[in-house]
């Protein structure tokens, strides 16, 4: 069990012993039933309840989250306290945009490898339905003046200065999904990739349809059991399944959707993009000591993680840039990985990643390889669907990908998996996990 790979985290082995996520709930144009901290607590409680140890025995809690609400500062600590970890378990929050949930696992894995911690609850959460709606700077300035205005006369003057433009609000979510440096929306970066690799609208829609089909099948055959526990809101409603999956869609319907980012000529639609969703995922990471002390089952090992950066306007190729060095470092080829989870931010973007790996020119100029890395069998990628059907709660996704690829390895009796995703702002993250051969 202790044998170490050639490279990876220096120090002790890092085990994943269990994990759970809340059902991913599609945003329906109003604040969802759970705040981010609520969702993190709802997903964490059943996970902790089935452990042989008590929550205060955790060494720390790390939570990835891109946009906690104003009253959820350091949401990681909030989650730790509300999960009953007691006063003495530190909790913190990490943010690397779409990879925040994977960043928290990377931080936890390092903590364990270095010997600082033995037992860590790490994961990610995002409640995109409650992204803030902001006041304009003009309005904020006006409010300041109003507060300073004393007496009826001054107040009347202040009121007279109020204009309709003051009431224009800023949708925080749209700002968050727009690159602040190059000024492109995430969807436009996907359009860039589709153009560069010649990915057609039909290919994107086919990919999206398959994602829905796979998720529906996974759910129907009970493959998600043990990974998703039902949660309850305060009104007693039970949420027991990812509700973004569309069983009724087909290529015709997908083809009729209008492009949302590059109107009217683009190809990226709501149907072939990740859904806007609320979700939370937790994994429990342990050192060998902790595994032995609490007699924990081992789901797998986190072997290594790699972060890479690239042009923000091409951010969708992040998995290629992060995954390639990770493979190289361990002397692995694409086909040595039994199962892949490549986040489906956009169908075009996943297809572009596959195309890039097959493109000798891209591999040479961008990745410094001698030749193309080669084709990747679609049957090994996102076998149970992805964010197109499931949604992409940005802070939670990274952790979901890792948890799910481990579950797939367990189910298939396979050995190696990689979870990887692209990151807004022009980055990529990839995490290599392993199970011991059975």
């Amino acid at each position: 069990m202790t044998q170490r790979e050639r490279e990876g985290y220096p120090g002790r082995a890092v085990y994943v012993v269990d994990g759970n996520r809340a059902p991913f709930l599609k945003v329906r144009n109003r604040p969802g039933p759970f705040a981010a901290a609520d969702l993190a607590v709802a997903a964490g409680r059943p996970l902790l309840a089935r452990q042989p140890f008590e929550p205060p025995e955790l060494d720390e809690v790390i939570l990835g989250c891109v946009m906690p609400s104003a009253d959820e500062a350091n949401i990681g600590r909030i989650a730790a306290l509300r999960l009953g970890c007691g006063l003495r378990v530190p909790g913190w929050t990490v943010q690397r945009n779409c990879a925040s949930g994977m960043q928290s696992l990377d931080c936890a894995a390092r903590g364990i490898a270095e010997g600082r911690s033995d037992l860590i609850l790490a994961g990610g959460v995002e409640v995109m339905s409650r992204a803030p709606v902001l006041l304009s700077d003009a309005m904020v300035a006006w409010l300041g003046a109003w507060r300073g205005a004393r007496g009826i006369g001054r107040r009347a003057q202040a009121l007279a200065r109020l204009r309709p433009r003051h009431f224009r609000v800023i949708i925080g979510l749209l700002r968050g999904l727009t690159d602040p440096v190059v000024g492109l929306s995430m969807g436009q970066t996907a359009e860039n990739l589709a153009y560069r690799f010649g990915i057609t609208r039909e290919a994107m829609d086919r990919f999206a349809l398959e994602s829905h089909r796979r998720l529906a099948e996974a759910r129907d055959t009970g493959r998600l059991a043990g990974e998703v526990e039902p949660i309850f809101d305060t009104r007693g409603r039970c949420y027991d399944a990812d509700d973004g999956v569309r069983r009724d869609t087909d290529l015709d319907k997908l083809a009729r959707l209008r492009p949302v980012f590059d109107r009217p000529f683009g190809n990226v639609t709501a149907g072939n993009s990740a859904q806007i969703t609320d979700g939370a995922t937790w994994l429990l990471l342990a050192s060998e000591d902790a595994v032995r002390r609490h007699r924990l089952p081992v789901l797998g090992r986190i072997v290594d993680c790699h972060w890479a950066a690239l042009d923000p306007a091409q951010m969708g190729l992040g998995p290629v840039h992060a995954g390639t060095p990770l493979l190289e470092r361990h002397g692995l080829a694409l086909q040595d990985i039994d199962y892949w989870e490549i986040n489906e931010a956009f169908a075009a973007q996943v297809l572009a990643c596959l195309a890039a790996w097959e493109d000798a020119d891209y591999c040479r100029t961008e990745l410094g390889l001698k030749d193309a890395l080669g084709p990747l069998d679609p049957a090994r990628i996102n076998v149970d669907g992805g964010a197109v059907a499931l949604g992409h709660p940005v802070g939670a996704t990274g952790a979901r990908l890792v948890l799910h690829v481990l579950r797939v390895l367990e189910r298939e009796g396979a050995r190696r998996g990689i979870a990887t995703l692209c990151i807004g702002g022009g980055q990529g993250g990839a995490m290599l996990v392993e199970r011991d051969a059975e």
Partner: protein
Amino acid sequence: MAEESKGVHWYTETDADGIVWLHLDKADSTTNVLSAEVLGELRDLLGEIESRTPRGLVIVSDKPNGFIAGADISEFTRFTDTGDARRAIRAGQGIMDRIESLPFPTVAMIHGFCLGGGLELALACRYRVAEDEPGTRLGLPEVLLGIHPGFGGTVRTVRTVGAPAGMDLMLSGRTLSARAARRVGLIDHAAPRRHLRTAARSLILNPPAVQRPPWSARAAGHALLRPWLARYLRRKVAAKVPKEHYPAPYALIELWERHAGEPRRMIEAEADSAARLLLTRTASNLVRVFFLRERLKAAGRVDGHDPRHVHVVGGGIMGGDIAAWCALQGLRVTVQETDRDNLGRAVARAHELYRKRLKRRRLIQAAMDRLIPDLRGDGAAHADVVIEAIFEDVEAKSALFRDLVPRMKPDALLATNTSGIPLETLAQTLEAPERLVGLHFFNPVAKMLLVEVVSGPRTAPEVTARAAAFAHRIDRLPLPVKSAPGFLINRILMPYLLEAVTLESEGVPGAWIDRAAVRFGMPMGPIELADTVGLDVCLSVAGILAERLGGEVPERLRELVAAGRLGRKSGRGFYEYPKGKPVKPQPDKARTPPGDLTDRLILPMLDEAVACLRERIVEDPDLVDAGMVFATGFAPFRGGPIEYIREQGVDALIRRLQRLEQTHGARFAPDPGWSALEP
């Protein structure tokens, strides 16, 4: 530094500013109460303090649990005539007057309980500050003991907060948080612990004007408006309790109405009125009930067991509500239930309860976080207490125990909420039968104070004690009972309910039956109660009892259940419930209720209580009374069924039972246990 005084219960400290801090630390007690001795010592000390002419006086308690919990209730019973009582009350009033007339600023610095006489003392001070923490409760609960404030509280409360708020406080007996007390003007400052002393000192060093109620509240007490307000208050009280059973609130209203304009007269009249009330049967019975409650609480005060996690199996009405209650009391709770709809309903009901009880968003959230829906029963392995609350079926329960016990911590408490199955039957399949104990809750859990702690013949005494301690931990009153059909409460209640059904089927209108019981002092009539409990539940419990103890189940009950009329929950039972409230058809005015109606309802209950005592279902008569008062609301002013028997006389009741036996049949034959009662 001035000369300090030191008594048995009180002592003083003088600080650099010349403020005297008068500490109360009642000897040999964890709680400060104003016993005759404590008051006597205070009287003597006040003279000494006054002669020192300090800058000011702060009265403070050294007890962690609070300021002063009130008068010494155990002294209430020592008065045998109104003259004695009046003298003692006048003496107390004199001390309060003395505090009030001290020529320097006085402050009561309050934390925790400040009740009854304790608040009256605080009101005699010029200022009051209270600690702004959840444990702080201020109130005048005398009315709950059948009296009203007697140390000048009736005068000073109204003077401080005005008649509407003041009368409400005294008539309801409810207690206020520090913040609520500040809002009505009962105290000058609600301050966090860290600033409490500073607040008290600042009131003395820079004394502000004394608090007065707003003009609107003062106007309401004006002589011209007083009769109107008095009439309104009487109507409000009458809607809750009748004058013949609970004279105190009516006496309080009269006292205020007649004397509010003349404080000196009112103080004297207050003493007369309080002394009269103190010697009423109602007051002595309510005091008795107070001590019964203390006794049950004491049974639960066992050290060395501090449960943190409760696992409740079964998320139905009972299981869900038990779980919600435990989480409200600060425990982490898992509710095991496979039906998601049930579990969802339990969560929603819990949220409702927390919204009502906790009000503040963060507290509600914390309670909801402690209540964990558990579809797979993972919580059992963490629990210190496991409570089984699934449907009443021996096979199902045994199967559950087989699954549950191996997963439980070896020292966890294993309890069942069964209301009908004998513990010995359930314990049979257990490897360690001494482990099983009953914790029988009543519906609705959040309202019913009592929990029957049921011991089977093999239950270990240590387990029973821990179960009682657990009940105490979740703020319920544990009543230790023996495992026997119906335990204590349902068994005593059932003959009363069944006789009511028989009466109804004989053609006596339900409205009459219910009214007779309510007039006797039951909180709800038996017909309405049966509908509320659910007729199917009544039928099943009655069946179990009839099978084991004899007796008959009225045909009418079977018919109604067969017709799907299950009571309130199905919208129809004996009554119709169009909007959740019973519609009771008004009986023909020309008819009169049968003369023996009340006896036919109440006497079977008394007879069964006697039978339970004979079979030693509980240890002694007081526990029968405690159980019936706290679980069913049996007329508290009557002190409980056994106390009522004592009052009425054993022989007289036996004769009344025998008369009923002659006219209505053998079910009224007096139990052999009557002969063992003291006449």
